[in-house]
Symmetry: D2
Subunit: 388 residues, 4 copies
Amino acid sequence: MKRKLRMGMIGGGKDAFIGAIHRIAANMDGLIELSCGALSIHPETAKISGEMLFLPKDRTYFSYEEMLKAESQLPADKRIDFVTIVTPNFAHFAPAMMALDLGFHVVVEKPMTFSLEEAKLLREKVKLTGKHLCLTHTYSGYPMVKQARALIKAQALGKIRKVWVEYPQGWLSKLSEREGNAQAAWRTDPKKSGKSGAMGDIGTHAAHLAEYISGLKITHLCADLNIMVEGRALDDDGNVLLKFDNGATGVLMASQVAAGEENALKIRIYGEKGGIEWAQQEPNTLLLKWLDAPTQILRAGSNYGQLLSTFATHNCRTPGGHPEGYLEAFGNIYRNFAQTLMAEMNGEQPTEEMLDFPSVDEGVRGMAFIDSVVASAHTTEKWTPFTA
Amino acid sequence: MKRKLRMGMIGGGKDAFIGAIHRIAANMDGLIELSCGALSIHPETAKISGEMLFLPKDRTYFSYEEMLKAESQLPADKRIDFVTIVTPNFAHFAPAMMALDLGFHVVVEKPMTFSLEEAKLLREKVKLTGKHLCLTHTYSGYPMVKQARALIKAQALGKIRKVWVEYPQGWLSKLSEREGNAQAAWRTDPKKSGKSGAMGDIGTHAAHLAEYISGLKITHLCADLNIMVEGRALDDDGNVLLKFDNGATGVLMASQVAAGEENALKIRIYGEKGGIEWAQQEPNTLLLKWLDAPTQILRAGSNYGQLLSTFATHNCRTPGGHPEGYLEAFGNIYRNFAQTLMAEMNGEQPTEEMLDFPSVDEGVRGMAFIDSVVASAHTTEKWTPFTA
Amino acid sequence: MKRKLRMGMIGGGKDAFIGAIHRIAANMDGLIELSCGALSIHPETAKISGEMLFLPKDRTYFSYEEMLKAESQLPADKRIDFVTIVTPNFAHFAPAMMALDLGFHVVVEKPMTFSLEEAKLLREKVKLTGKHLCLTHTYSGYPMVKQARALIKAQALGKIRKVWVEYPQGWLSKLSEREGNAQAAWRTDPKKSGKSGAMGDIGTHAAHLAEYISGLKITHLCADLNIMVEGRALDDDGNVLLKFDNGATGVLMASQVAAGEENALKIRIYGEKGGIEWAQQEPNTLLLKWLDAPTQILRAGSNYGQLLSTFATHNCRTPGGHPEGYLEAFGNIYRNFAQTLMAEMNGEQPTEEMLDFPSVDEGVRGMAFIDSVVASAHTTEKWTPFTA
Amino acid sequence: MKRKLRMGMIGGGKDAFIGAIHRIAANMDGLIELSCGALSIHPETAKISGEMLFLPKDRTYFSYEEMLKAESQLPADKRIDFVTIVTPNFAHFAPAMMALDLGFHVVVEKPMTFSLEEAKLLREKVKLTGKHLCLTHTYSGYPMVKQARALIKAQALGKIRKVWVEYPQGWLSKLSEREGNAQAAWRTDPKKSGKSGAMGDIGTHAAHLAEYISGLKITHLCADLNIMVEGRALDDDGNVLLKFDNGATGVLMASQVAAGEENALKIRIYGEKGGIEWAQQEPNTLLLKWLDAPTQILRAGSNYGQLLSTFATHNCRTPGGHPEGYLEAFGNIYRNFAQTLMAEMNGEQPTEEMLDFPSVDEGVRGMAFIDSVVASAHTTEKWTPFTA
């Protein structure tokens, strides 16, 4: 590979939160360049945003359709390799479908689509086109998350018995969507966000993390969804009991009204021999607890006698004690995605470590999680089956 | 009061875990002396245990009946003031009833009785006799637990929305009851422990703590109880969704198969304005989180400008940074109980701070919790009402 | 031993801080009873304090001389076994000498005496009388401190290279001694406290801990002592470079003007293979760091496969996760002292674990530390030899 | 500014540690592109490294002289704007001088030069040419470090009394320089590293941080430097007493033989009213301790009611709870440097927040620190003046 990959961005104009994050993540490792954008549906915003990002005028587009068509007609040595879609949930599906049809790989924010139906159609399209779709479940990009997964896969904890995942945030403790918070506005609007609020926004992250680390699948759930702030249309809080396919049980908590919390995603998993504990706000540490021995503190970047899994070390940039964070975890997803594309362009087989990014299948599963949780919340039956 | 209170102990012979704890708690503040005991149903153990505790031979009894009768006939200046009952669950009720009938106050380990029916009978007896029954829900004896309760009572957090209590232990991760662990043996035996294992042993602590700190009452619950270790007869793990009488929701988790955990009781409560977090393993710290301001670290013993509640300061013995622990929390229950008795003996009204120890009402509520959780675990209905 | 030990207390009347702490520590394990006291030099305070502690009137004394004489003439089955001296520093020596002369064992607060000369005389007296003198360097009573010492003794860390001990407190950040704080008043008064303030009060604890855990002896030091609060006569802050007898180096910091700190004694020791870290405010945890392996979290009370030293387990009362604190560490010193006396009274040899309490030798060394630090602070030479 | 800034890199070929870090830091925010490099003195390495970084062949140079000459002759719309120098210490001075002479701005790794003399010459050159020199004292790029500085500047803590900075690492606990560790090899070689080892490598970071946050200047120091690993030529451990220009005192510890430590830089500063505590391994948290109120936990990204300083918020990319780390701190130095250059190119005055990056003055001070510490280590006088 003699060049960087070329990326086009859909959404993510100035003032957008997640678009800026995606750009940092994509920039970080020098493998990707931002080549074009349809950054806003407001032409003036699109124009100014393009200038701020040093985009050429002729590749600052005013709609995703325009961008995808124009780019698909550029010569191979100029044309983008993939698009990244960072619009609100309801506007993921159409550009993703069109991009795949026109031969571009796709990176898309989670939740993948607005509905489970869309998700399944997208999955079909991916299979049909043979392109890659990468879903940015950021938290699975952390090296110590990958270390936890590797330990469990290697049976270090024995049979898994209990999965305990929690995701408290406090930022929707007031009716901020009525006070000019744009983020809050679309995320609490069923027309833009989908049929769930907190569970769609952060519950899906928690569910993905639980399945990713444990290697298990949720089979049944029992959900209690709540609207704690009066005047809101979607759940801002929820608690879910879980059953997994190996007999393990668990709990998933997701709340955006846990006043005083920032982004306190945390997971604990216990097996016959011990447990793991990982907290996103101190992500470079993985506690490894043992039934019969002292707890060990595993640390990102510290490869004590080759102790850490290659899946962890592949996703570290710095030696132990030089903390990497959220942006690096995000960057790992982009880097793995980019390395996969580059390997394939070079005619090589990507390694398992490169291929370790969330795909369309995880996207379908996330949408099924939302569907199942909402169904459970509306029934008086204790257990609702989870099917994707 | 010109003398220490005199205590008689039922159960708690040598090698018993909780009896030794009770004695330290009772000794600590120099307000109580151990005057007699029916320390074991095995005469030799009773005898040796009495010697080890420097009890006079004539007050080393061989059954609780013998002890209660003999003591009730001693002159007032020798007779014990109260008994403390530290036998396994099934053997709480009978000595407690007899002691009350004979005019003694009672301290009893939790869960208060073997069944809800016994608990209600005991409640009647307490009302009838006018004696005090003190239930050793240790964790409510910690000063920062009392501080949390006082803050919530004073509306510092606004309306409470979410209660999140967890109690993971790992010590029953193996079938230890078959390997000579006496503690494990009776606690996992339905004939000695009652209709629940982990929920009865530690779930009741968690439920009590949730209600004590929040000032709310659980109205409905949805329980998933599990036997994770094959060959065991009672639940060793459980997850419970909760609804409270003010509309708050919550989760209670209690597990004794969380391999690698010690005694990691922790509670978080969120209201409109902020939240509290308290963890038993670092009990001198209370995190006070705010929606609009930095988290504050409140510390036991550190009375910054009289900031701490009198309910907290009354239960501290040392200045900030000189950690008090589990034994002091236990001692606080004994001290408050003793101060109450002493005040009344002196013809004074005990203060609210003195009266702040768990009573027979909490005992009934704990037994009702066990009943409701077990009922919920056996139904396919999502919600089971909680009534005491 | 068929009875509790009998203790007489010198100092420690109502409102005294450390006297109350000693009583809790002595009460806790049911091995010692408070039999008499010369609790205050103010007769009224002595009287009231005796009543509050349920002392008989005839054993509530008004001076230590009176007490020691009277008690020495009581019959053996009533007479106290030992005295505990909890007066300000300047008033340790005389009662200790007299008690030893009259055949009593002695417990004394640190620093042991007012001057190094007194300390050496006391050491001679102890050797002469054959009685035990126990110095309450509380922090060496913590089980995880003993575990650290045992690990280093067993060469787990290899040769020790660096000792890093710090003791920041903030309570003397203002001129509290002029604002009615009695504690502050005598501790900052050279006539009552001795030739050093912070270094005498808490620096001696830090120095003792460093030598106790490392098993090394300080040979040279280079001290910078400061008076940070204007109007104060003694150092309230100091930093000291250290050299040890095996070639290790280190730093000792002690400050009482570290505003916002409580009692944050902490020690880190590094050897060729790894290091230990222990912090008094979370005393049940010992971090064991390895050059080539993940850090381990050792926990008091958790005897993973008999991993903990008998010196640690002997000093635990509760299982892991039931935190013990400052009072229990203090209680360990009393318990070991008491068990030593009891063993000897029974004609038995105390175990090494029982004998593991600070003695008159540590007291001399502490006074020598004060002398050396003050000498160093007054010279322009970099290194001052430390001799005891 | 209609374009990114163009950077040329000197040193930093494949396998070099710090060069890769600089590139990530420079890439992250999309303000800078790597345009050319003299990446290695080994031609083959230079060539391969250039390819891996997608550099054009004609701008992959084989010496810094070649690069600087060639680039200075390119037209303004192609020519680099600045160079970044990431060679070992001994090879900083010459390329920096030449770059300034040829009209380029300079970013340089610390310590700035090999000797204090070089540092002073470089300072003159910077003044003469009017170009910017940016020194990558990474740790001052963290937002909560800037918050601490802002608080102290605003007198929140009152007069500063004590500065306590420590920097333990363990990676040189063995003679790794003889075992093929290239990093270890040059850093322990006096010909490449300079007259100090650990003090030059990490002690300078600690000293800079102490002065940067406190706003004070060190005036005297008393150093104990040690070679703990036999066979090594430079100090691998040291402890230094400090005096500051306002009367405050302090301690600086730097060790690379603290076995088991990663990169545990930590600073605590105490004033009359309270103190701050910041630890690099959990960099998003700043503890703010108060003499008369509970400790507050300030968090990067969480702008509670505009509480955080603009110097902190300017250096955050993510909302609270989305941890930023070492690479972002590094990126902040590059971003501020880039924003300064861009503002000036646009004819605007950079803001104070932009100008907040370490300059040649801090570089001179760092070299003076090394000189003074080494001088102190060789004298028997307690205090050595610090002059820059």
